[in-house]
């Protein structure tokens, strides 16, 4: 094995996996090219927009700025986690009910970030929401609906509806 290629082992959405990757690949390239997962997608490629959001050991990161080699030994969670045959969670349901997207390109990132926010702050103020999501961009500009969706998701979670 050359020094510019390595084998990484990690947990992907709860499953133990391994992959051979060039050391200069980022996490988006890893997920798309080795696992056929396209929920995290590269848009700005600069850490600004959040379309490439994934969780590494429970922390949100920009997949576009995170080297694939560094998820070795880590737990990686993407928007696809638990998607097969499960019901939507409170955040996803709230985004639908509030109409918080048009094209949906940015939605995986917003959903993952909103889950993180509500884990940290179950009852966020509008200011909390705007600060926390300032690193997520929506080119369809569904921002008012997104903020409403986050509030709705918080309500649903507190009422015990959905995960």
């Amino acid at each position: 094995m050359s020094t510019v290629q390595r084998t990484i082992r990690f947990t992907l959405n709860g499953e133990a996996v391994a992959a051979d990757v060039p050391t200069h690949w980022n996490v988006v390239e890893l997920l798309q090219n080795r696992f056929g997962l396209f929920g995290a997608r590269e848009s700005c490629g600069q850490g600004l927009c959040g379309c490439c959001t994934v969780l590494v050991n429970g922390n949100a990161v920009s997949g576009c700025l995170y080297l694939a080699a560094f998820v070795h030994g880590a737990e990686v969670t993407t928007i696809e986690h638990g998607a097969a045959g499960r019901e939507l969670d409170a955040v996803q349901q709230a985004f639908i009910e509030a109409g918080a997207f048009q094209c949906g390109f940015c939605t995986p990132g917003f959903v993952l970030m909103t889950r993180q926010l509500l884990d940290e702050k179950p009852d966020p103020t509008e200011d909390d929401i705007r600060h926390y999501l300032s690193g997520n961009l929506c080119r369809c500009a569904a921002y008012p609906e997104i903020v409403a969706a986050v509030k709705l998701a918080a309500q649903k979670r507190r009422a015990g509806q959905g995960r």
């Binding site: 510019v4 200069h24 850490g47 959040g50 560094f70 926390y132 300032s134 690193g135």
Partner: protein, 291 residues
């Protein structure tokens, strides 16, 4: 991005040794948020990256010594800093600054050492930490040294760190009883790179003693090549009771002494005007304890 070799030494000293050749295509890599951007833009094509992620855990610590001075490991993430109760208690201006520094995902990954070493004058923590009187401790083949943060920056994206010299730790004198504020002016969106940053740390007499300013440290960023202390503006505040006339004189002093340069965020003339306004606002915010 082009292929490179990725090394993950287990100690900071080993990492420093791997960088000692001074080969510019061999680079330290901490959180990598800045390095990744430079590689993506093609301005950096490393042959080798020396990751600091696997070095001793002590370099990720955040704590306060008996004197209240804060010790922050170079590998501590900006999120860890933001959430640290020690930081909130001993230097609340740092926690407040972090709230609008980049975004959650970058803060989860970026490190204090990488943040300070990057030397982009638009960055937020350097002016704040210089105003508080911080210094960095380094590690290299010869051992290491302590550098006042004020002396770390030598130019745009340039530091006075030697070949194979790495930041190991940052030491920050506690804020209290001083009052501090950092204000930045962004001209496009709220989380854009600033056109100007102003950090102010004031040591004031108590209300009963006349509330005059005993000592002032003022540092600006984004409008100058490196974070810059404004000695003349500081002198205006020293010994004064703050009122509109004093703030006007301090603003005039600041605008005339700083080597302001224009960029995409504003012309030099505009930034000089911003400086007058934001210096006054920052002093007032510090006195009100709301910066």
């Amino acid at each position: 991005m082009t292929p490179f070799e990725l090394l993950e030494p287990r100690t900071l000293r080993e990492a420093a040794a791997l960088l000692a050749s001074g080969d510019a295509t061999v680079r330290p890599f901490a959180g990598g948020t800045a390095v990744m951007l430079m590689m993506k833009m093609g301005v950096l094509r490393p042959t080798r990256l020396v990751s600091l992620r696997a070095v001793e855990k002590q370099y990720s610590g955040i704590g306060a010594g008996a004197d209240g001075a804060l010790r922050i490991g170079a590998m501590a993430t900006l999120s860890a800093l933001e959430r640290s109760p020690v930081i909130r208690n001993e230097a609340p201006v740092i926690a407040r600054t972090l709230r609008t520094l980049s975004n959650v995902r970058v803060r989860n990954v970026a490190t204090v050492g990488g943040h300070l070493a990057h030397a982009d004058p638009h960055m937020d923590l350097p002016p704040v930490l210089i105003a508080l009187g911080a210094s960095v401790t380094t590690v290299d083949a010869a051992g290491g040294r302590t550098i006042p943060l004020e002396k770390l920056y030598s130019g745009y994206l340039e530091t006075s760190l030697g070949r194979g010299e790495l930041i190991a730790e940052v030491s920050v004198p506690r804020q209290a009883p001083r009052r501090a504020a950092y204000l930045k002016c962004t001209t496009r969106s709220a989380d854009d790179w600033p056109a100007l940053g102003v950090a102010v740390v004031l040591d004031t007499l108590r209300e009963t003693e006349g509330a005059a300013v005993r000592e002032a440290r003022i540092v600006i960023s984004a409008a100058t090549d490196t974070p810059t202390r404004l000695a003349k503006a500081e002198a205006v505040l020293r010994g004064a009771r703050v009122d509109d006339a004093v703030l006007q004189r301090a603003g005039d002093a600041a605008a005339s002494e700083a080597s302001v340069i224009g960029d995409a965020h504003g012309s030099a003339a505009y930034k000089r005007e911003l400086l007058r306004v934001y210096l006054a606002r920052a002093v007032r915010a510090a006195l009100a304890g709301e910066g």
